[in-house]
Symmetry: C2
Subunit: 246 residues, 2 copies
Amino acid sequence: MSQQRHGSTPGNTGAVPAFPDLPEATIARLPEYLRALHNLAESGSETVSSEGLAAAAGVNSAKLRKDLSHLGSYGTRGVGYDVALLVDQIEYILGLDQRRAVALVGVGNLGHALAGYDGFASRGFRIVALFDSDAEQVGKPLGDLTVRHIDELGMAVVEEGITIGVIATPAGAAQAVADDLVAAGVTSILNFAPCVLSVPAGVDVRKVDLAIELQILSFHEHRKASLTAIPGGRSAQPGNQEAVGS
Amino acid sequence: MSQQRHGSTPGNTGAVPAFPDLPEATIARLPEYLRALHNLAESGSETVSSEGLAAAAGVNSAKLRKDLSHLGSYGTRGVGYDVALLVDQIEYILGLDQRRAVALVGVGNLGHALAGYDGFASRGFRIVALFDSDAEQVGKPLGDLTVRHIDELGMAVVEEGITIGVIATPAGAAQAVADDLVAAGVTSILNFAPCVLSVPAGVDVRKVDLAIELQILSFHEHRKASLTAIPGGRSAQPGNQEAVGS
DNA sequence: TGCTGTGAAAGGCTTCACAGCG
DNA sequence: CGCTGTGAAGCCTTTCACAGCA
């Protein structure tokens, strides 16, 4: 699923604390642990058990312990994990100690919402530039920023040190935007357009397709409907932590 | 990962075309195949090979064939798959033949964007009601709809036949909204709030956390930076289909 | 011959269960 | 004694490679 070989950096045994070779599934959960830890820190907890943190993050404790064990031993047997220490450690691993500069392309419906989303700023990112190809939009102010024409992207990436691009354009424009981002030197892309992007090796793409999420839920609705048509089911005990899919 | 047992409906061998017991990973890809098939249909293709469809959906052909084989044999050896037939089949499986009614709770920044997102309407869903707890927002028109107070949720769910709820509130309000949705009879929830929801068994929750997606990309940026610090890497051959994570 | 459908192999992830440390 | 860290087992997913049908 990842595009670059995942082996520990070859010819680098020991000296520099070799970049941990984390399973992809673990990486995807670290942000959730981080959020839970921040909540715990705010509520005054200094330590937390694997059981407690797991509950706060919505996973089981064995999985959490296995995940954290990949980062090294930051827990104390008989006690638990030091919240502040673990926060630092996960933020370091995720590269959040440097507040990354993000470019957002496409200031339509969704782009507007993303540009104004507090969660980015509060969780390690700065949206530093907005782009659109529509002359109508260019020059308009949006929050602290002004929408720029996509031709300025290359310049902005260098000037602002942008490493992540967010695509919030219609599907038809997304591949061209991705090409522009890559040409400008961006190596990570978050794509909200409902289409497959083709990018060179070394560029990471993650996709969020809102309709797909609903379609997956629709499947489960369909399945539940076809099951409840048959007697026997329906033993719901409230208060459980339940989730489906990823 | 799913909350209900996945076995084929017990005591139902044969008679009704037993609801297929699809792997969760396959289900998550069906919407992507469907989108690709719609594109192919629009461009006039009547059949497509596993190779062709796989490329359009951004997966490899072996995986695609395995996935489709779970639905039954809808391909023709030596030829490929009938596009229209496969569209119908996948739409049936996903329960998209009935345009599902969706309630959206929280019409802030993100809620506005979701309410206006074309992709929902064009891909099988109708947003039929908008809710907020903020008296300021209640009564305001938004698209074809008027924002209603969340107290009316129970009524609306019954009247409109809502089965899916979308939560676009701040994290602090999300659990209460989820409880309201469940109490009203909603059995599938798409949660955009950055928090873990606790719901009874039988209710499906999917979560989309925009900051988490960026944090995962940030990890890969961090890793790439630490790798390129060491000589040897960097063999990017453009034109590949590349993606990271799920 | 070309392409699907599928056993079998390989790999990755989760869960279990407990050794071992504080 | 409690809780972490971890080998081992089991399960799920992906990939391979080819039998078999059109």
